[in-house]
């Protein structure tokens, strides 16, 4: 096979980009990661979400999430003008394969991605009888699955329905904010796969993080603020009907 110099000049940059992607998939260890220098959360920009389900699929692949259970999922709300209390909500298979075409035109439709809110005052960690679930110093709610009893008290205590008992491991399981990735300088699988940037990993302790500017200039809300959980999943454009 003869490759001309012209072809090499075209292929080399492509190969460089491909190699960079390979490197991105197998990052080096981050021995210099300091938990005390981070305070992780997530920004969810509702107007940007198109309900494609990429994030759900990416999460399930990345974290080997059992079928029928979800570390993250997407809900589609349909709110008619006068009825804020009873929105029509669907999330077929967690929104993994997207959503059916809208049949009715009345009212408004929007998508709400959900995940563990990584609450600073998390009710789930409060109730764990052995402390198997905890808030890490960098603000991520994690489960030590080698220690969890599988009593499901934490599942009951989560106001957002973000936890489940892993059917095979018989322990509590939930979103780890892709801890194995973010401690190596990567973003989460859901954020990386989002085509519109509706989900963004944020580090509240990093002064250079654009989240600070965003929070200053946008009306941002957390889910169920009355629960006073210190939720760190910040929603931009959150409608009052969202539960």
């Amino acid at each position: 096979m003869n490759i001309s110099r012209r072809q090499i000049l075209v292929l080399l940059p492509a190969a460089a980009i491909a190699w960079k992607s390979v490197l991105a998939g197998t990052p080096e260890d981050s021995p210099n990661y300091k938990m005390s220098e981070h305070w992780w959360g997530m920004l969810i920009d509702i107007p940007k979400c198109i309900g494609c389900g990429n994030c759900v699929r990416a999460c399930q692949t990345e974290n080997d999430v059992p079928n029928g259970l979800f570390r993250t999922w997407v809900e589609r709300y349909h709110v008619t003008d006068e009825d804020m209390i009873s929105p029509q909500v669907i999330s077929p298979d967690g929104g993994k394969e997207g959503f059916p075409v809208v049949a009715e035109d009345a009212g408004k439709y929007f998508f709400v991605p959900k995940l563990c809110n990584h609450c600073a005052d998390s009710p789930c960690t409060q109730v764990c009888p052995v402390g198997a679930t905890f808030v890490s110093p960098d603000g991520v709610v994690l489960v030590d699955q080698s220690y969890c009893l599988g009593c499901a008290y934490c599942v009951q205590a989560c106001p957002y329905g973000c936890r489940y008992i892993h059917p095979e491991k018989k322990v509590a399981d939930k979103c780890t904010l892709c801890y194995h990735r973010i401690t190596k300088g990567l973003t989460t699988a859901c954020c990386e796969s989002c085509p519109t940037g509706a989900r963004q990993l944020v580090d509240l302790k990093n002064p250079a993080d654009p989240i600070h500017e965003f929070l200053k200039t946008h009306s941002v809300q957390v889910l169920k603020p009355q629960m006073a959980t210190g939720a760190k999943a910040y929603y931009n454009g959150l409608d009052g009907s969202v539960r």
Binding site: F70, V89, V127, C128, V130, G161, K170
Partner: protein, 394 residues
């Protein structure tokens, strides 16, 4: 999705706590209630209920021995449960279970039974032969002195243990109520009244259980039922039941009047999925009917045979009602979505670890324990007279 009406968060569709977690508060309630009945005689000197004193203690022990089993069977990793003793999480209500349970079992119930039966155990040890002699020998714990002075000390210490036992019984069951009442994420559970309701319903169920057991066992032994005793128990059952019902109604009325964001969802659930178990079984069949029956026995002087039947029916219905209450709390609290937008259904399995057959086995097991205890430590016959001399001396 199958069994779902409206919208549930996707992880909420399957219930986390099964019928076994319904059994757990039911069983601990019987323990606490039976103990409170026993304490009526011991501490509050209600002499009329004396024939049930020892039976109540043994009933409490038989049920307490079974109490941790539904929890163990429910855990994903039961082998890790000792961690609750070794590394309890200080902010967790559930972490207290091991300590409350052990305290109640060893420091209160077993100790009180041992002190009360010590004289009998020593006498049976002296009379027995073969393996029974060995068993009774072990049960004496080497303490075979049954002199007057020694028995007086037993009596005094027993009185103190009972005195400590009353708040302990309240703690044992109030704590179970707190486990549910402290979950702010769940409006069906979250209520400061929950521990109090649990304590009073525990007393109702425990007293009803001992009443029924006393009547059934006396009949089986072809003895005469002490009507003064069952009349007194029925009277206490009636008054405690009124307090229990009032508290539950207070909770209900408060919810209806406040009608917060969860009300529409919970109201719908009570009128549909929980209608039979809550309205029909718990309130009408299990509470109002026995209350009316007990009320009638208080105001009308029925013949003995009628009273006995009324007590039997009222006691049985009360037990059914309290079981329904536990069911409605535990299962009802998981049937609605925390989004308040939908409902799921509970499908009880049959032969699984948390299925119906296991629940039936766990319900029968305390009766097997009780029959062994009744054989080993017969509560009838000659009973030591608690003269309360030691207590009264001060």
């Amino acid at each position: 999705m199958n069994g779902v009406e409206g919208f549930m968060y996707p992880n909420e569709v399957g219930l986390q706590w099964s019928v076994l977690i319904v059994l757990y508060p039911f069983i601990t309630g019987l323990v606490a209630g039976a103990f409170i009945l026993a304490s009526l005689e011991r501490v509050f000197r209600v002499e009329a209920v004396k024939p049930t004193y020892r039976l109540a203690l043994l009933t409490a022990l038989a049920f307490l021995l079974v109490a941790p089993l539904p929890l163990q069977l429910h855990l994903g990793h039961p082998e890790r449960s000792p961690e609750m003793y070794f590394t309890p999480h200080s902010t967790s209500a559930m972490a207290m279970f091991g300590y409350v349970y052990l305290w109640y079992l060893m420091a209160v119930l077993v100790l009180e039974i041992w002190l009360d039966y010590r004289r009998d155990i020593v006498l049976m040890y002296q009379k027995a032969h073969g393996p029974l002699r060995l068993i009774y020998g072990l049960m004496t714990l080497g303490s075979t002195n049954i002199s007057e002075r020694s028995l007086a000390i037993d009596d005094r210490v027993g009185w103190i243990v009972t005195l400590i036992g009353i708040p302990s019984a309240f703690m044992l069951h109030g704590y179970v109520g707190f486990i549910f009442g402290s979950i702010k994420a769940n409006p069906w559970w979250s209520s400061p009244l929950m521990p109090v309701v649990f304590i009073f319903s525990a007393m109702v169920s425990g007293i009803a259980a001992v009443l029924l057991l006393y009547m059934a066992l006396t009949k089986l032994r072809h003895h005469t039922i002490d009507m003064r005793c069952v009349d007194s128990i029925a009277m206490y059952l009636f008054y405690i039941f009124i307090v229990d019902f009032s508290l539950e109604m207070l909770d209900l009325i408060h919810r209806i009047y406040e009608a917060d964001e969860s009300f529409r969802s919970l109201n719908f659930m009570v009128h549909t999925q929980l209608y039979f178990s809550h309205i029909v079984v718990q309130i009408f069949l299990g509470t109002l009917t026995p209350l009316v029956l007990l009320f009638l026995t208080q105001v009308i002087n029925f013949p003995e045979v009628v009273r006995k039947r009324m007590y039997g029916i009222a006691g049985t219905l009360a037990l059914i009602g309290i079981f329904a209450m536990r069911w409605n709390v535990v299962i009802g609290g998981q049937l609605f979505s925390k989004s308040f937008l939908g409902y799921t259904t509970y499908k009880m399995a049959l032969v699984t670890r948390e299925g119906l057959l296991m629940a039936i086995a766990l319900t029968l097991l305390p009766f097997i324990f009780l029959s062994i205890l009744l054989k080993l430590l017969p509560p009838w016959g000659e009973q030591p007279t608690h003269t309360h001399k030691a207590a009264a001396a001060d």
